[in-house]
């Protein structure tokens, strides 16, 4: 049992990448640091556990990154996915600092590898963690222990007691028992609220009950809610979340990358009434996978069914769940729990509308339908060859956009625009400041690493004054 009567220089709330970067940086600056992680040790690391790379600016090839990826190109990529819902100053600063963050990570024991198979297009822009995000989290925790950071698992911050922008003390539960922690400075790196279905329901209505959460069940936004209720300024759309279509058989939480399903462009997707609802072949999957979470979420019961035939079976990454197969379309519909007559009619109508063309899975091939609503504009081939294959789809929530507002020193702002005296934030809890919409692969880790280090540095400075 730790001595809760002492005063730490820095309290870090959270156990993911951003929290660890902040804790390590503050400790290396000479501060006493307590890190509290709400999850048990086995599930430590928040959503960082499920990540696998960091988008990194680099002027020349590095050990794992090819060619060069410069600030302007990085910024353009970000601008495109966010549609302008970003802060150029903070974003460009983050981008520039990723280069140094990568060095810090390597020095901290994080190991990297060349980009994974099937992700060659990322070998220039994203540095992959050897073994993925859990290996990264393990490396940081091992370093934190060596540095003498106090670490408490199963320990959740429940109330940051703020007076006029100053955190006086923090009420926590430690293995279920209430305690109070006092620290000169506090860094909140406790993630978003995507695991709180009640909260999601406020934005999405009852449909949210059918959402699957791709990551940690511990990101309930307790600290976020607590801060917003006390007059901390917010950023980001409170109702929005990043949702992708994943295999409908995924577990409620923590299904991670293995539940991804990349078959949509080669399929037709029907809802529970057996009807198509969107152009499956609008663009290549990497550019469209993020809208399908939302599309499925808008369907009755928040479920969709992707249907392909034998021709397309090998064109996409296998999902972790076995394909549902049948010898006829009707039989497949029955296995999927759909009305066979309706699905047969939808498939027949689609097949009749397919215009002959030269199919090519690797580019926009123009194989399309004619006179069909909604149309399918690429990769449209008649579904005719047994076995017929189906996958259920459901919305999988990756993260939420609502967060606390910070300045370039990671210092939290209050509603009236004044800075907090001793509260800093890093990671998902403040990412909405930079990423207001959409997603760019490996950018969450970039924000977490960069702002984690800034928060740690500034918190240390603050604690000494």
């Amino acid at each position: 049992m730790p001595d809760f009567s002492r005063v730490w220089d820095v309290l870090v709330i959270g156990g993911g990448n951003a929290a660890l970067c902040a804790a390590v940086t503050a400790r290396q600056a000479g501060c006493s640091v307590l890190l509290i992680e709400s999850a048990p040790k086995a599930f430590r690391g928040g959503n960082s556990r499920h990540t696998r790379n960091m988008r990194t600016m680099h002027p020349e090839p590095t050990s794992v990154l090819t060619e060069a990826y410069l600030e302007d190109e990085y910024w353009d990529d970000l601008l495109r996915v966010t549609g302008g819902q970003t802060d150029e100053h903070l974003a460009r600063m983050t981008i520039r600092l990723t280069t140094d963050a990568l060095r810090f990570m390597e020095a901290s024991g994080v190991r990297f590898q060349p980009s994974l198979s099937g992700t060659l297009s990322l070998s220039r822009t994203n540095a992959f963690f050897l073994g993925g995000g859990k290996a990264l989290v393990n490396a940081y925790f091992a370093l934190a222990e060596r540095l003498g950071i106090d670490i408490l698992y199963d320990t959740e911050a429940v109330d940051l007691k703020m007076d006029d922008g100053f955190v006086r003390e923090v009420a926590i539960t430690h293995r279920g028992f209430p305690e109070t922690v006092r620290a000169k400075t506090v860094v909140a790196s406790s993630g978003g609220f995507q695991a709180d279905l009640d909260w999601l329901e406020k934005g999405w209505g009852p449909a949210a009950r059918n959402f699957l959460i791709r990551g940690t069940p511990y990101a309930k936004g307790v600290v976020l809610r607590n801060l917003l209720d006390q007059g901390v300024a917010s950023v980001g759309d409170p109702t929005q979340c990043h949702a992708v279509a994943i295999d409908g058989r995924a577990p409620k939480f923590d299904g991670g990358i293995a539940t991804r399903l990349d078959c949509v462009p080669f399929s037709i997707v029907v809802n529970k009434d057996g009807e198509r609802f969107y152009d499956e072949g609008e663009d290549v999957w990497p550019k469209r996978y993020a809208i399908w979470g939302r599309l499925v979420a808008q369907q009755p019961d928040q479920v969709g069914y992707a249907i392909i035939d034998a021709k397309s079976e090998k064109l996409f990454m296998p999902s972790v769940f076995p394909a549902i197969k049948a010898d006829t379309v009707g039989e497949l519909a029955v296995k999927l729990g759909l009305d066979p007559a309706k699905v047969e009619a939808t498939v027949a109508e689609f097949n009749a509308a397919c215009v002959p063309g030269e199919f090519n899975s690797t580019r926009l091939d123009g194989c399309r339908t004619e006179g069909l609503t909604p149309p399918k504009t690429h990769w449209a081939r008649p579904i005719t060859e047994a076995p017929f294959i189906g996958y259920p789809l459901r919305p999988g929530i990756t993260f939420t956009y609502l967060g606390v507002k910070v300045d370039e020193n990671a210092r939290v702002r209050m509603d009236d625009g004044r800075p907090s005296a001793n509260l800093f934030a890093s990671g998902e809890i403040m990412a909405g400041s930079i990423l207001g919409k959409g997603y760019l692969a490996g950018f969450g880790m970039a924000i977490g690493s960069v702002f984690g280090r800034i928060a740690g540095r500034e918190a240390a400075k603050n604690a000494r004054n």
Partner: protein, 381 residues
């Protein structure tokens, strides 16, 4: 390879791995896995023997227990690997020796030592066992030369035959063809991977030998043991050469080639086996297949005994203890040769074969455009 509970578990685990692939940089298993979408039992046998049990994937796994999917790749592949030893054992009826293998190997060693002592006493004057014997032919006064050669030669020839047959069974079952077994670049790559234990490097920076931290201790201890063993083998070979062609009878002086090779080889084997036993004792049991530890320990102890009794014999060969030590040492060596095809030792054959298969498999680059679609933007936040 027959279908069992272990192959079913391994297939399920690898299907999860194949949809994740975060571990691709650790070792050969994952790149080999991604070449497949479905896993036949032969594939599982191949992948299980390709696995060096470095445990990097266990500590990195987001689906490791207590996650409900309960993915423990090192453990489940170890179970399959143990079953492949049974599956490919030759002659078939002896496959049962791989069940409770730790007990059997341990009993074999005890029986080997006892038999050597009893035979010695029965065949030569028991007093020779307790009186110092020196000068050329001293060893053969304790155990006759013809007996040594018959036992050692007979058991080792049989061991080689059994291992070759096991290799053949493995090669066929994992889809290999006879015409692939020829020299060339894949064989050179495989030999490099075998002799450097590249796959115990964790993709650079080490493996999880003991816990979440990275180290190279298992690799180094294995090198001590393996190269020590080779030196001891070279020692025996050179001694045979001295005896047959140069007419020098053992024992040889300390600075002679056979004794120098044997001495340093023995030291290496003691360091290596003791180190590996220590690593097993202190390592995190979670990714280990506990029911198989007995087999591991039994072989390590047998190898340690072989080296330690050899060194002891060298140190005390001029005293009255020589006779008993020689009998014990030769009993252990005889046991080692006898149990090689029916102990953990076979892993060397199947792992080498799997590395060769992997080198063959990697050679042709798959045609572009035929790969599963890119997951470019697929990373979670």
């Amino acid at each position: 390879m027959r279908e069992t509970e272990a192959t079913a578990d391994a297939r399920r685990a690898l299907e999860v791995c194949n949809a994740c692939r975060y571990c691709e940089g650790f070792c050969a298993v994952f790149p080999a896995m991604t070449l497949r979408r479905e896993f036949t039992s032969g594939d599982l046998s191949y992948l299980a023997n390709l696995c060096h049990n470095c445990r990097g994937c266990y500590y990195s796994c987001q689906y490791a227990p207590p996650h409900p999917w309960n993915i423990n790749v090192p453990q489940v592949l170890a179970q399959v690997r143990a079953e492949t030893y049974e599956e490919y054992a030759w002659p078939g009826p002896l496959a049962g020796l791989f069940k409770r293998n730790g007990t059997i190997v341990s009993l074999a060693m005890i029986a080997g030592i006892a038999l050597a002592l009893i035979l010695t006493m029965a065949l030569v004057d028991p007093s020779i066992l307790y009186t110092p014997q020196q000068g050329p032919g001293a060893f053969y006064r304790v155990i006759p030369w013809w007996l040594m050669v018959t036992l050692a030669g007979g058991t080792s020839l049989f061991a080689v035959l059994a291992l070759v047959m096991g290799f053949r069974n493995f090669w066929r079952d994992t889809g290999g063809r006879a015409d692939e077994l020829r020299p060339g670049r894949p064989l050179a790559v495989a030999l490099h991977d075998i002799l450097t234990l590249k796959n115990l490097g964790g993709g650079g920076g080490g493996c999880n030998d003991v816990d979440e931290g990275f180290s190279q201790v298992r690799r180094r201890f294995h090198h001590f043991m393996f190269y020590g063993f080779l030196l001891c083998f070279a020692s025996t070979t050179s001694a045979t050469f001295y005896d047959h062609f140069l007419g020098h009878e053992a024992p040889y002086p300390f600075l002679s080639l056979p004794v120098q090779l044997g001495f340093w080889g023995g030291v290496g084997m003691v360091i290596g086996t003791a180190g590996l036993i220590w690593t097993k004792i202190v390592s995190d049991p979670a990714p280990a297949a506990r029911n198989l530890l007995g087999s591991d320990y039994a072989l390590l102890v047998l190898l340690l005994m072989a080296a330690a009794t050899g060194l002891l014999l060298l140190g005390l060969r001029d005293t009255g203890a020589m006779g008993v030590l020689l009998a014990v040492h030769l009993g252990v060596i005889f046991t080692l040769f006898a149990v090689i095809p029916y102990s953990k030792m076979v892993h060397g054959v199947y792992r080498s074969a799997a590395l060769f298969r992997h080198a063959l498999e990697r050679r042709p680059t798959p045609p572009p455009g035929n790969k599963p679609s890119d997951r470019a933007l697929g990373s979670a936040a």
